[in-house]
Symmetry: C2
């Protein structure tokens, strides 16, 4: 990933600026080219196995009444990110917004930015144009999720080097940061597979039973929909040839957490090369489980209108609809109007969650 770290980011930003200056010197209008990120330019790419941006480009030019303001804003965002990289300091996109809001000085009447909704898409423009992640521009993203397992993380941060042994984090686990690339190494990963568990409550259950130790897995919970940092970590682990199994609620929302990890999502299609893990497999919970484990029948609950709507939408996604197993699952939800939470697997005994996972993983009872 040498090309994607913060040093490379600084070079890319400098090149961007120098090229613009050169254009001005030549007497032409500076331009900025980025890929179009709207739905029309997002496709499921079968050879990659995930949602990616297509070929459509967008060019922004300074000498254009409709584009001048946005052009200036883009340059301002790039300039701030360059400063953060030089200072070796990080902030959030909210912090960036306030620096932009502050920076015009008292002598200019007009604000460069009034709402964060103006600066956010410009950051995405930069990510795409420079083929890097905002994390490489020292912008922190919301972090969420924890990890346990035989894995040592070397965190070079603020001049210090810290080794974190994810097998020795007790009940807490290691909190997944925003950026798992820059200044971060995964030194020792000794595992048979990666298990991603939707809910923190179930992660805690499995952690208490030392599931990761007994089964030799890296146990991750994204705590719901996975953050960018969590998806990136899963991708990185999958690149170490570890199989990735995902365990969620049996409802469209839970299943979509799986699909977002596997094929990426519309919003982050521009980052799919970094965060989609097409090799991921789904271990459960499935509607078929209700047939296979008959006590589960009485632990189902009613699906809400929003669950059914989401299930219908998922049937219309071609990358899901191509798998007959998933179409069957979604149809069963729509027919029975039921759902089953992963928590329900604790019904007969608290340790049953682990028994269930062990059995299904051993028998390779996965959905694609």
């Amino acid at each position: 990933m040498a090309k994607k770290d913060s040093e490379a980011a600084l070079e890319k930003l400098e090149t961007l600026g120098k090229n613009m200056i050169a254009e001005v010197m030549r007497g032409s209008s500076p331009e900025f080219e980025t890929a179009v990120r709207s739905r029309g330019n997002i496709n499921y790419d079968e050879s990659f196995g995930y949602l990616r941006l297509g070929e459509k480009k967008e060019t922004r030019t300074f000498v254009n009444v409709g584009q001048a303001r946005k052009f200036m804003q883009t340059v301002a965002v790039a300039s701030k990110c360059k400063k953060f990289l030089e200072e070796k300091s990080h902030t959030s996109i909210r912090g960036l917004f306030y620096q932009l809001k502050y920076s015009l000085g008292d002598d200019v009447e007009e604000e460069l930015f009034t709402e964060q909704s103006e600066s956010n898409p410009l950051i995405e423009d930069l990510e795409v144009a420079l083929t890097l992640k905002r994390e490489d521009l020292n912008l922190n993203t919301d972090r969420k999720g924890v990890v346990a397992g035989e894995m040592t993380v070397v965190d070079r941060f603020g001049g210090d080097e810290t080794k974190i042994d994810c097998a020795k984090q007790g009940r807490s686990g290691w909190a997944i940061p925003s950026d798992v690339d820059n200044g971060m190494e995964f030194e020792k990963v000794d595992a048979n597979y990666v298990l991603v568990v939707e809910k923190d409550a179930l992660w805690q259950r499995l952690n208490e039973d030392k599931f990761w130790k007994k089964e030799g897995c890296i146990l991750i919970t994204p705590k719901g929909q996975a953050s960018r940092g969590c998806r990136r970590l899963i991708k990185k682990l999958s690149q170490k040839k570890l199989p990735v199994y995902v365990f969620t609620d049996c409802d469209a929302w839970g299943w979509y957490i799986y699909w977002a990890i596997k094929t990426g999502s519309m919003n982050l299609a521009y980052l799919a090369d970094d965060i989609a893990t097409p090799s991921a497999r789904f271990v459960g919970v499935t509607m078929q489980d209700i047939v296979d484990y008959d006590f589960l029948g009485k632990l189902t609950i009613n699906a809400k209108e929003v669950d059914l709507k989401r299930a219908q939408e998922m049937m219309d996604y071609p990358w899901i609809a191509r798998h007959k197993e998933w179409v069957n699952e979604l149809k069963t939800v729509l027919k029975t109007k039921k759902k089953l939470e992963q928590d329900a697997l604790q019904g007969p005994r608290l340790s049953f969650v682990g028994e269930y996972l062990r059995e299904k993983i051993k028998a390779k009872k996965f959905l694609p």
Copy 2:
């Protein structure tokens, strides 16, 4: 806290059960007494400095058509918790609900519980009746928040003992667990004060600048409203004679995060002795800061209707209204209809957040 740990909890549950059996043997109806937790029995107690339950009690008796079902349910919850304690296994209240839902067996037609909303208040009943926390009953609560600082945590969990050095957690910090009492010791706490920072983004900013190292503080973010575990941790640190300073957005929502830490909240008044920290002080952000740091004026944003409504409500809380400084702050919000986020302190330079805190803490510029 010897009386509040899991072993004591087991004894208390056994005594509860034995007393009920004795009542049955005597030919009388078993009873269960707990404190009333409705608003009418919640008072601000000036001598304690927080919201507490009053003296009103509620008795549930088995031989009463209106109470028999609820009585039976309470006993079922107590029985499950006893089992969890004996098995030394934890689960969430959702896990408990599914065990209750499962447990009646196939031969009984009627379900003991159909919705979790039935079992939740019964857990609170037990907490109050037995004067312990659900965490002592091996029930995990939602965990949230991270810590950095010169503090060593000894986590005895699942038969292992892990030492976690909160000064060596890199960019991640130590994730605050659900239970910071049972099997957990805070061995070495070497700090001048505790700083609680509302937003994780600001925690990350201060952590990167090594604020906790330079200033000798324990740096905590609850990530918004503080979880039970986080409030309990703050309370425990305050009991080690550490001053607690809270740093939030300048709006009613942020300020209420402070008040919930300090005086507790209505919902958790029954736990106030364990989680309220009346010695806490508010370091910022205040409306007065906008006067004292004049660049902040242009970084304010418009308060939403919901912010103003909440500010009005807070003025009506007698434990807030008794402080003229807070009444002034709230009135200024209502008059100017403005708010100021803690993120805005990054406007002039990313490191300004630390400068601001250092200055205000040194000058003891706190609100009560």
